[in-house]
């Protein structure tokens, strides 16, 4: 066996000279013996190898186009076996590489290892450093998520300001006048082809020259020389293990690299920041307002890099070397300080819900501005995390359409509703859960069913509610208008909202018809509800009857709304309440109430009653009803004579002529009705 192996090696050697090459590679003399301080260069090689290996496997799953980049990274991150780990290692190793570069560079300058005859190798090292930074810049964009997109956008906008050819450079870099498919194909070609290819070439030169000159021993040499193999190699390998191990730990600890929501060219991500090792540049730029920016972005960094290239020649003399070390210290110290300052500025407010008054900062305009900027940053970051989580959950639940992940964002009432409501509705309407429990569903349902259930059923129902898992995205956050001039729309179309209209206190509150300047305060509906409760001769008993009747009506209307809530009870008992409710609406109520009136005396309900004096209750608050209402509240079906200031948002058949197009209208209505995808829609039995 051994003979066979030797035979194969000899055969190979006679044709390739492999023995000599291996000997050359491994038996390099290390003056003064192996030392830990010599491991940094080989650590960088290991880091790069890690990037090549993980990068190639990522490449096998990545697809560079605006409709597939985020989507394929989503798939890597959330669906592929260990994809999150692969991507995490690639991500964190890139940071590690920058740290190692800084150490390697600092050590070479400190030791004066750039002196003749090693000047050229120092220059090669700097070129390698620039290539690595280029790799990290181009890699940041590839997931095509909000963070990478907007951070890179700021970077390329800066590039466009470069003197003379800036505009052309930007166009060539992004493959057109705005970001698109070709930005990704170009960045990817750079990231996976040109830059690593050049890196390999320059690395080969760097190592070749390194071997030619030998390493720069730490003086004075105390120990006898040793060979690279195995003494230094052992230390190098231990260091490699430590570095890769550290990256693996961070990857597992953080559950891999972040993937924010799909890039949205129309929605700026205010918390876009470059990768942490570029933060110092970002912070540095803040010192150069307006036209001065080219100084911060090009001239000064350009001069610094030029100085770095000249270090070997400046460092030929002792004072020159001291100057180099001083410059190095200033650069590293300055970058560290700027990085800390950037983080501090962003996190000044502490939390997105903080207020300036509580912050304890001196009340100056500068402090207020800084605080507000930080608050904007933290809010944008929180919103982005929220949106990212939502879109990933949607992708898992319903899959990504061929148009890409961004369509998930734009077609989701849960994400779009609040934005659209703020834009179109919130200047009049409030969207706020009420103390009476328009807020908490479980409490409300318990309350709503109270009079109808036998005690046995009651406890069974409560059991069911107690076991109910509140799924994610169960309800939307409040959007508060403290002085509304129209009804509160929170929980619209659910049973409790319906019953609120029949509650004398609630209907008269600012949340329904008692808002500022309401023409309905003395209207028929208000009078009807108030009198139904007040003018009650037999007092409490009958009041209960009225209550029960109203509850049944609200149940019936909830069914009318085709309420998209899975809590709609399907028991025989509930069905019969709703049936009774319908009977009450079409006339039965007249027997319960003193006034002898029922709903259809004013409202239309299916075949009963007439249009004209009050809104149609047929399909009340159903999707179509709401859409028609918002299209034109003054339509015959709604408030032909008594509409209070609500604009007709979409009265025309041609959507181009409307304030709201059909899609937007649908999104608003779905959101108001709570009709959005809840990926963990589960009610436990």
């Amino acid at each position: 066996m051994k003979k066979l192996a030797t035979g194969v090696v000899d055969w190979l050697d006679s044709r390739t000279g492999i023995k000599g090459i291996l000997h050359e590679a491994l038996y390099e003399r290390v003056p003064g013996g192996a030392r830990w301080r010599y491991v940094w260069g080989s650590a960088l090689v290991v880091a790069f190898m890690t990037q090549v290996i993980t990068g190639i496997f990522l490449w096998m799953a990545y697809s560079p186009s605006t409709q597939t980049a985020w989507e394929s990274v989503y798939f890597i991150q959330h669906e592929m076996n260990g994809g999150w780990f692969l991507r995490g290692v690639h991500h964190y190793m890139s940071s590690m590489m920058v740290v190692l570069l800084a150490i390697h560079f600092a050590q070479v300058v400190w030791d004066g290892a750039y002196r003749a005859p090693r000047e050229l190798n120092f220059v090669l090292g700097l070129i390698l450093m620039l290539i690595v930074l280029g790799l990290s810049l181009t890699g940041y964009l590839l997931p095509w998520d909000q963070k990478g997109y907007w951070a890179t956008n700021v970077g390329t906008e800066l590039a466009s300001q470069a003197p003379v050819a800036g505009g052309a450079i930007k166009k060539l870099a992004i493959g057109g006048s705005s970001y698109g498919h070709h930005t990704l194909t170009r960045f990817f070609a750079l990231h996976a082809g040109i830059l690593p290819g050049s890196l390999v070439a320059f690395l080969a030169l760097h190592l070749w020259l390194f071997r030619r000159h030998g390493l720069t021993p730490k003086q004075p040499i105390k120990n006898p020389d040793a060979m690279f193999w195995p003494d230094q190699m052992l230390k190098d390998c231990v260091a490699a293990l430590g570095i890769v191990g550290a990256v693996l730990v961070v990857t597992v600890y953080t559950q891999g690299a972040e993937l924010t929501a799909p890039a949205d060219p129309a929605n700026n991500y205010a918390a876009a920041r470059p990768e942490w090792y570029f933060l110092f540049l970002f912070q540095f730029l803040k010192w150069f307002p307006g036209e001065l920016e080219i100084w911060g972005a090009f001239v000064i960094p350009g001069l610094i890099v030029a100085y770095m290239f000249l270090m070997p020649w400046i460092g030929r003399t002792k004072p020159g070397h001291v100057l180099n070390v001083l410059v190095l210290a200033v650069l590293l110290g300055g970058s560290a300080w700027l990085t800390v300052a950037a983080v501090q500025e962003d996190t000044l407010a502490g939390s997105p819900d903080a207020t300036f008054e509580e912050s304890g900062l001196a009340d100056t305009e500068a402090n207020r501005n800084a605080f507000a900027a930080s608050l904007d940053f933290l809010k944008a970051k929180r919103d982005a995390h929220f949106e990212a989580e939502r879109v990933v959950d949607l992708a898992k639940a319903v899959g990504i359409p061929p148009t890409g992940g961004l369509a998930l964002v734009y077609d989701d009432p849960y994400l779009q509703g609040p934005k659209l409501f703020k834009q179109h509705c919130a200047s009049c309407h409030n969207y706020e859960p009420l103390g009476n429990g328009l807020g908490d569903y479980a409490e409300q349902l318990k309350e709503a069913f109270r009079p109808f259930l036998t005690s046995e059923e009651q406890s069974e129902y409560e059991q069911k509610l107690n076991n109910l898992k509140y799924p994610k995205y169960f309800r939307a956050d409040a959007i508060i208008n403290p002085a509304p001039t129209a009804p509160n729309l929170y929980g619209i179309s659910n049973g409790t909202w319906m019953s609120a209209w029949l509650d004398p206190k609630l209907i008269a509150s600012k949340h329904l018809l008692g808002y500022e300047g309401s023409p309905f305060v003395d209207g028929d509906m208000m009078t009807f509800v108030v009198e139904a409760h007040e003018n009650d001769p037999n007092n409490e008993n009958l009041d209960d009857d009225v209550d029960v009747a109203f509850r049944k009506i609200s149940r019936a209307l909830m069914e009318e709304a085709d309420f998209p809530n899975y809590l709609l009870d399907d028991s025989e008992a509930s069905k019969s309440f709703r049936e009774e409710g319908r009977e009450l609406i079409i006339g039965g109520l007249a027997d319960v109430l003193d006034s002898g009136m029922s709903c259809v005396d004013c409202h239309k309900f299916h075949d009963e009653g007439d249009l004209g004096s009050a809104p149609d209750l047929t399909g009340y608050m159903s999707r179509q009803w709401l859409i028609d209402f918002i299209r034109n509240p003054a339509d015959d079906r709604f408030y032909p004579d008594t509409n209070d200031r609500m604009p007709a948002f979409a009265p025309h058949d041609n959507e181009q002529l409307n304030q709201l197009d059909d899609k937007t209208l649908g999104l608003i209505v779905d959101w108001l009705r709570g009709d959005w995808v809840r990926p963990e829609d589960t009610v436990e039995d």
Binding site: S177, H181, A270, G290
Partner: protein, 200 residues
Amino acid sequence: MAKKNKSKKMSESAAATETSSGADRRSFVAIVAGGLAMMGPIGAGVWSFLSPLFRKSSPPEVRVALLDQVPADGRPYFFPVVSDRKDAWTQYSQQKVGAVYLIRQPGEEIPTAFTAKCPHAGCSIGYSADEEKFKCPCHTSAFALDGKRVNGDEEVSPRDMDTLEVKLNPIEVADGESVTEVLVTFVDYQTGHKEKHPTS
């Protein structure tokens, strides 16, 4: 005849240096030929690589709002700019390509349009209603309601907010009423310069 002699003479006189100068000449030709050979593929690549520089596009005229949606109260109203857009091979119909603020002073008929893209680094400018200021979240640029920088040249933004050309387009709707569309010529301006330059 003379010519022949001359050339013969020349070759004789060059005979001493024949080896070195001939090798030089061949090296030179080799480099040129090899270089030329590579120019083919490189040229083909560079030619197509440069194509973004030769593609021109004209800014779209977009309907951003109806005039009714911009009351003449001196307050800014935010509207997305939705337009057809082509990205390499993908044709997007009606995509959000940017956003504008429309402001109409009391008595004015035509609103002023500001693009929401910050002239500093291209972030999207927000509006703070309680401070009555436009504020960019990225590098804290602030603009007054007329688009002027709050701190003038001290501001990080090199110029005031970019205005866009606005046109009004009245349309007769079927029932005899008419609505007025607000059309904006949506130009994407380069950031970072004192002057406005379109990106394409």
